[in-house]
Symmetry: C2
Subunit: 342 residues, 2 copies
DNA sequence: TTTTTTTATGCAATCGTTCCCGACAACGTT
DNA sequence: AACGTTGTCGGGAACGATTGCATAAAAAAA
């Protein structure tokens, strides 16, 4: 099945003009006489002419499209960030092409390759939890493809980065637990490769240190796929509560981990009602859980916006950008029942 | 900032061959001698040559991209459906470009225009709740752009459609409420323009009729933006409970409406504990609510898959497709606490 | 009337790729 | 020796749009 659109040639033929004249008339060039211009414009309108963006891309060597690579759009943080990305991109005349890595380095590489090779003008990337090898991105970046990282960033590539203040967010959440009397605070977190994991762990440690609570390695559990595989969260949870020293609070890092944890937490057989729980998540259903969930909320929409602005700035810059910044946006601790003093 | 990639010309020049020979060697044409082929292939590999998809699109008059138009990716149903779409599309070598209408006819039109004009080979559409005028889609469809509707469909365009069995799903949910002793069952639903609204209302009515409960117009409230604007759900809720005959159960249609309703339902000031609640939603957090929520779950992933298969079939068909089908997939009623007998 | 200037238009190259032809060896057949 | 095959390869035209340059006709200046 083929889909035929009117081209500049059709107009030229119909009006007995050359394609150049039509092209210029369409773009309102002063060289074209008002009558011809009017003729062309009216005919173009009549047959509903639209310039072929693909031909334009080829000519101008740009596609006016930006690629987004995230792990899962079903994750609240990312769907909100994408809304932020779109809000800026569409206003500036850019398409947004979204692809998901599903936390797999393999799929991330394939998607990036797919998006690159001149079909996008720039990339907005949040790394998968599996990613340790950045050569696929580095190669493209070195060739001149603008890339901005957001949320899950890397130090291996020197470019703009936009992140939440994860360390401070984790610090506040942990300190909040401490203030409410909790002492054995477990931390279930994402893959240790991720920047967000390191930053949040750091905040967690800082809060413990400030309040003279000794850091206990055994209270930190890593879920290498960010909770995408429920089993790994299950295992982390089991291990935490099968040890000698059971935690009296859980601090989770990551949307998926938080909700999956909550479902174990609500296990009807075992009672965890003495255990406090809080975590990073951007769900807007936290009020509806029982107990309602204390959350660390990231400014996802704004992160998406800022990252997009920086990327478009890079794309449209005449000279290579060499001065890079890392924008950090504050998180918000929303206190609800799940962390109240017992 | 510009991003340079190696082209077939670079290879030709380096190897002192013509572009045609290089092109043929790369595609493994039998006309090229094994030695030349090897030479070209090795050099291409060395400089990491990737064919320019834009040039290919222009030449082949197809982009190997399909456009998706949904109201909100943050909606669980849609993000799951998109996963289904992707799973098929990527395997068949198609890109997926997602755009959101945010329940606005205006934005839907802009996005569709943007996606069309030869930059996508076909469209997967779920209409916005505001859409009454389909001329933008009709025009493109008549020109030969393959379109498949899913979830929120229309009769005005004769093409493939993929939907959940909304009528039966609504019927089962309503009947379940009736079996559990509820009699004054309210129905809070989406915009009356939408196919899903009509179908679910129909199922609701059928269940009432079967059990000899008179249909009461006042128990049905419409939220014209599918719950995107919390106020309209608020109003619907208020009206239902300010009347003389208060409902003893609520049946909601739509992800957003269901969760927003739940938050009013959990209003700490007013007590709705006698009121049962259930609705269409694809959240996987229903277990975590309090009370845990009885839901009608749609096979979102499968709907996305089937729609994509049908679309690609249309795109790749040599002759215009004239035989259209409407695939209907079963929903699943998952019974939890929120509808238990009181 | 002739020359210069202005105005309006067309030609052709370009972007990267494919593919229809045509070119031209090195054969084998008559 | 003349011709047809076969195997390799290059030339060049597309695909749709833009744009520098050339050029025709018309208008203005000489």
């Amino acid at each position: 099945m083929k889909f035929e659109t009117a081209t500049i040639k059709d107009i030229a033929k119909a009006l007995n003009l050359s394609t150049s004249t039509v092209s210029r008339a369409l773009r309102g060039s002063y060289e074209i006489s008002p009558e011809t211009k009017k003729l062309v414009l009216e005919y173009a309108e009549k047959i509903n002419y639209r310039p072929n963006p693909i031909a334009l891309s080829l000519k101008e060597r740009r596609s006016r499209a930006i690629g987004v690579v995230v792990s899962e759009i079903a994750n609240n943080f990312f769907s909100q960030a994408i809304n932020g990305i779109e809000s800026i991109a569409y206003n500036r005349g850019y398409h947004v092409i979204i692809s998901q890595s599903h936390e797999s380095q393999e799929r991330e590489m394939v998607n990036v390759q797919h998006l690159a090779s001149r079909s996008v003008d720039g990339l907005l990337v949040s790394l998968s939890s599996e990613t340790t090898d950045l050569s696929h991105l580095k190669q493209l970046y070195d060739k001149g493809l603008p890339i901005v990282f957001f949320d899950r960033v890397t130090n291996e590539i020197d470019t703009h980065k936009v992140i939440a203040n994860n360390t401070l967010g984790a610090f506040h959440a942990t300190e909040h637990l401490i203030y409410n009397g909790y002492k054995r605070i477990a931390h279930i977190t994402n893959s240790p490769y991720l920047s967000i994991t390191k930053e949040r762990l750091e905040g967690y440690k800082q809060a413990l240190e400030k309040h003279n609570i000794e850091f206990n390695e055994n209270l930190v559990k890593y879920c290498n796929h960010g909770g995408m595989i429920a089993d790994e969260v299950d295992e982390a949870f089991q291990k935490l509560f099968s040890g000698k020293v059971k935690p009296d609070a859980i601090f989770t890092a990551g949307d998926r981990i938080t909700t999956v944890c909550l479902s174990y937490y609500k296990n009807p057989k075992k009672k965890y009602s003495d255990v406090a729980i809080t975590g990073f998540t951007n769900t807007n259903l936290a009020d509806l859980f029982s107990p309602s969930l204390t959350t660390v909320r990231q400014p996802a929409f704004e992160i998406g916006q800022v990252a997009t602005e920086l990327l478009i700035q890079m794309i449209e810059s005449k000279r290579p950008v060499t001065d890079f910044e890392t924008r950090m946006l504050d998180t918000e601790l929303i206190i609800r029942e799940s962390t109240k003093p017992r």
